[in-house]
């Protein structure tokens, strides 16, 4: 078996999931939907993170009962050897979507604000070696790289928030409860796809994160910490721009750094910070690509992860590039998926966990 898994410590696992929570939480937000009729994005983020954590707790309980070390084992236990591969494939598709969405947004910012005269294809090419290297080298390397950049990346988000302090005005948060309870609940469910992949990734790599208990502990810290950072960012965004403007801004956080002329002039923080955020997107993409490949390899009994991880990494980069191109079929598919992807993500592991709990204990 060559699964490139190794073992990572708690800090590496938390850093990996934490960064992914922030990258997805900030850059996968559908601004048109979220800010459509009121600014409740911070509430939505908090609810989504909490819901995601609850869901992975259920999955963890299922894995514990079935005595499975990782999600692939749970799939094989719950669905059997024939159905586990299709179930893993569904989760893989959702993970590819989750990995590509922050990159789509970051690429768009890059192309619109930094590399204005360049082709987007030229810019997107740089993603490939990074995501491919991380996914190919495996869990240990992704964890250590995330741990290495963790402080710098989290600080970069806070620097953006600090720069814009004079622009904050609490009255802009009106209406306080966002779009109403029903809408908030619907958006919270849809927002699960911003936090759940980062957390379920830890269970996919459960054997490398020292088992289910350790994975759940790391997931809890990441969900709480990452969720908190995202909530703070969304809250301060809401205090900077009125919601009707936010819904038209594709990259609100980037615009936040430009909210004040002095802020953007400070060592051109608006552009420099973007490259730190890009690092978080790349680490996230590598992590999800590897997790997806590991899940699929495990569920379909492949003994070598490298073909799968290379293929998934290239697919993630391709999807990120296609997000920038005028491909109507692709955009139609994304529009179709964006409010259903949370279900794709959640249903297979949840169903597997429930089935595992219903089965006779210790039959694994």
């Amino acid at each position: 078996m060559n699964l490139r898994q190794g073992r990572i410590g708690n800090q590496e696992a938390v850093a990996m999931a934490f960064l992914s929570c922030i990258a997805c939480g900030v850059f996968s937000t559908n601004t048109k939907l979220t800010y459509a009729a009121g600014n409740g994005s911070y509430l939505v983020s908090a609810f989504s993170a909490t819901l995601s954590l609850l869901l992975v707790t259920v999955v963890a309980e299922g894995m514990r009962r079935a005595r499975c070390k990782n999600l692939a084992q749970l799939y094989r236990y719950a669905f059997g050897p024939v159905l586990s591969a299709p179930a893993a494939f569904i989760t893989l598709i959702a993970l590819i979507y989750a990995a590509a969405m922050p990159l789509v947004r970051l690429l768009m910012i890059m192309n619109h604000y930094i590399y204005i005269l360049d082709n987007v294809q030229n810019v997107a090419l740089y993603l490939i070696p990074c995501v491919l290297t991380l996914a190919w080298m495996g869990l240990e390397i992704i964890g250590r790289t995330a741990r290495l950049f963790f402080v710098v990346i989290v600080l970069s988000f806070f620097v953006a928030l600090i720069i814009a302090i004079p622009a904050y005005a609490p009255y802009r948060l009106y209406p306080l409860l966002g779009n109403g309870l029903a809408s908030t609940a619907r958006l919270s469910l849809m927002g699960i796809n911003r936090f759940f992949p980062a957390l379920i990734g830890l269970f996919i790599c459960g054997a490398g994160v020292h088992g289910v208990n350790s994975s759940l502990r790391c997931a809890s810290i990441a969900a709480f910490g990452g969720g908190l950072v995202v909530v703070v960012i969304q809250l301060l965004l809401g205090m900077t721009f009125p919601y009707y403007i936010l819904s038209d801004i594709p990259a609100p956080l980037y615009r936040l750094t430009m909210a004040l002329p002095s802020g953007s002039m400070f060592l051109r923080a608006d552009k420099v910070l973007l490259f730190f955020w890009l690092l978080s997107g790349l680490v996230t993409a590598g992590y999800f690509a590897y997790s997806g490949a590991l899940l699929f390899s495990g569920a379909s009994n492949m003994r070598d992860i490298r073909p799968a991880s290379a293929a998934v990494a290239l697919t993630v980069c391709s999807v990120a590039l296609m997000g920038q191109l005028n491909l109507s079929a692709f955009h139609a598919a994304v529009s179709f998926l964006q409010d259903k992807v949370w279900a794709l993500l959640v249903l297979p592991p949840l169903l597997a966990a429930v089935l595992a709990m219903l089965k006779k204990r210790g039959a694994a």
Partner: protein
């Protein structure tokens, strides 16, 4: 790369092979079996040739064999001195002229050997008798292994064969000239001791023993694995050092089989797991105090005959970035020194690439004043900016190599002349601009804050790689190159210990990795090594 080298392109497409890289795990205990060494292999080879692996009982047979194997007929250095032990037993003293001390041989081997009383023991116990009662040498041993006897002669020791006994008495009579202990040449400190290792392995071990006066300090001698039969010494603290690490180090050194080993630098290359990485995976120091400090923390040291360096393994980034002086200054000053060092290293790696990315791809990120200064300084320069940067970086490396190769004061002169005159001339001739010259000079200065020479060279390598990435893709290229570099560094292991430990992976270290903490934080075995006696 290792795979590619061994199996060619086919290796990249072959699956189901676990990477065979050694990894030091926290849960590993015990002592895995030692996989043999040079002597065993040499004995095997001797057996294969049909010659006996043992010393013969006949002095004449031993004499003939030594003469044949050490090319005595054309090698006048080989002295085979026959004499009559106790006046009537044929004996032979074998040694190499120049390697052995003649006074020691005359006064403590030949004279007592000839004048002693006839032995009152069986013929096959004569060597033991001579060892116990006749030869007044402090370091002496018996062997019946031919290879050991021959190697002893080659090392400068004296082998005495007595007729009727199939053992040889080996006595340490090494007396060749060697350099005395002097000040370090490359690792100068102000507050610390001013002693450096020499080319004599015995002196080097003494220097270590003078600092490590503990009962667990062990020095194991063995052959280096080169055909030149050079000796190495593996030094460590028994009971403190991680046994798995120690056995892995021994296994790697035992597997060395090459033409010659002249210094620890060569041995490091033979034993490192990532030979194509520009970064060193072990630390070479010429300072006994630095080597001792690391050995006390649970590292393994390797000394080589003829090399004035001690190789310490494993080595992490933070070990390589620490200096001998760090422990001798007060904590705030030490922390500041470390901060300056890391900032210098970071500047050295990133600044040329960052400048190039801004100037070529993101002019909008610079203020009007900076931009106009750059434009003004480059107004008559004919080289493109990126080529100019690469040219200056290469020139810097050229100067550096020239300064190192030429002797002391002349080297300094070349550095000054090269820096001032060549730089000024290049600016005047419009080959390079002043701004780029300043950027490269700052990067070079930052490079010199790195204490380890091998790290300095590695940084130059990464600096150039980042410059190329920034040239191609601006800040995007730079960010991607930094991420890939970080991933590659995360994958690097030094004798099973991750190169970036204790930062990534984080270990249970209470001492700060970057800055110098309080002294008592440093006075404990190193965490990433998982030493046996944590509190030792």
């Amino acid at each position: 790369m290792e795979r590619l080298r061994k199996h060619g392109l086919r290796g990249l497409f072959t699956f189901d092979r676990q990477p065979a890289e050694f990894e030091l795990l926290e849960t590993e205990h015990g002592a895995p079996s030692f996989w043999g060494g040079w002597n065993e292999r040499a004995r095997d080879a001797a057996d294969d040739k049909g010659t006996s692996a043992h010393v013969a009982a006949s002095v004449e047979a031993n004499r003939a064999r030594l003469r044949a194997e050490l090319r005595g007929q054309i090698n006048p250095d080989l002295i085979l001195r026959p004499f009559l032990f106790a006046g009537h037993i044929p004996a032979l003293a074998a040694f190499l002229n120049g390697m052995a001390d003649e006074t020691l041989i005359n006064d403590f081997i030949l004279r007592p050997g000839m004048r002693c009383k006839p032995p009152d023991c069986a013929a096959k116990e004569r060597a033991q008798y001579a060892l116990n009662r006749v030869f007044t040498m402090q370091e002496a041993e018996l062997t019946n292994v031919w290879q050991d006897a021959k190697c002893a002669v080659e090392e400068g020791r004296t082998a005495v064969f007595l007729d009727g006994d199939d053992h040889a008495v080996l006595m340490d009579t090494r007396g060749f000239v060697s350099r005395s202990v002097s000040s370090p040449r490359n690792e100068n400190v102000i507050l610390g001791p001013h002693e450096a290792f020499t080319e004599n392995i015995r002196t080097n071990i003494t220097l270590l023993r003078r600092i490590i006066k503990t009962d667990d300090f062990v020095c194991e001698f063995r052959k280096s694995g080169g055909k030149n039969n050079n000796r190495i010494a593996i030094v460590y603290r028994e009971g403190v050092v991680n046994r798995t690490l120690l056995n892995e180090v021994k296994r790697r050194f035992a597997s060395v089989d090459t033409l010659m080993v002249l210094s620890v630098g060569m041995l490091e290359q033979f034993t490192e797991a990532h030979p194509y990485s520009p970064l060193p995976q072990s630390l070479s120091t010429e300072r006994p105090d630095r080597a001792s400090a690391l050995i006390m923390q649970g590292h393994v040291g390797v000394l080589c005959e003829g090399s004035p360096l001690c190789s310490i393994m494993p080595a992490t980034l933070f070990t390589l970035m620490s200096s001998g002086e760090d422990a001798y200054v007060r904590q705030p000053v030490g922390a500041l020194m470390r901060l300056v060092r890391y900032t210098g290293a970071l500047l050295s790696i990133v600044m040329p690439a960052y400048f190039l990315a801004l100037a070529l791809h993101h002019q909008g990120m610079m203020s009007g004043e900076v931009l106009s200064t750059i434009i003004a300084s480059r107004s008559m320069v004919f080289l493109p900016l990126a080529v100019e940067m690469i040219f200056l970086l290469l020139t810097f490396q050229l100067l550096r190599e020239a300064t190192i190769s030429v002797p002391g004061s002349m080297g300094q002169s070349i550095g000054i002349i090269g820096g001032l005159i060549l730089g000024q001339a290049a600016v005047s001739a419009n080959i390079v601009s002043k701004v780029v010259l300043i950027v490269v000079a700052l990067a070079g200065l930052g490079n010199f804050t790195i204490p380890d020479y091998s790290m300095q060279l590695a940084v130059a390598y990464y600096r150039m790689a980042l410059v190329l990435a920034a040239w191609a893709g601006g800040l995007m290229g730079l960010a991607c190159a930094i991420l890939i570099t970080a991933a590659l560094l995360s994958a690097l292991k030094s004798y099973g210990v991750p190169f970036l430990a204790p930062a990534a992976p984080k270990v249970a270290s209470k001492g700060p990795a970057f800055l110098r903490g309080r002294l008592k934080m440093h006075l404990r075995p190193s965490d990433p090594l998982n030493t046996e006696g944590r509190g030792a």
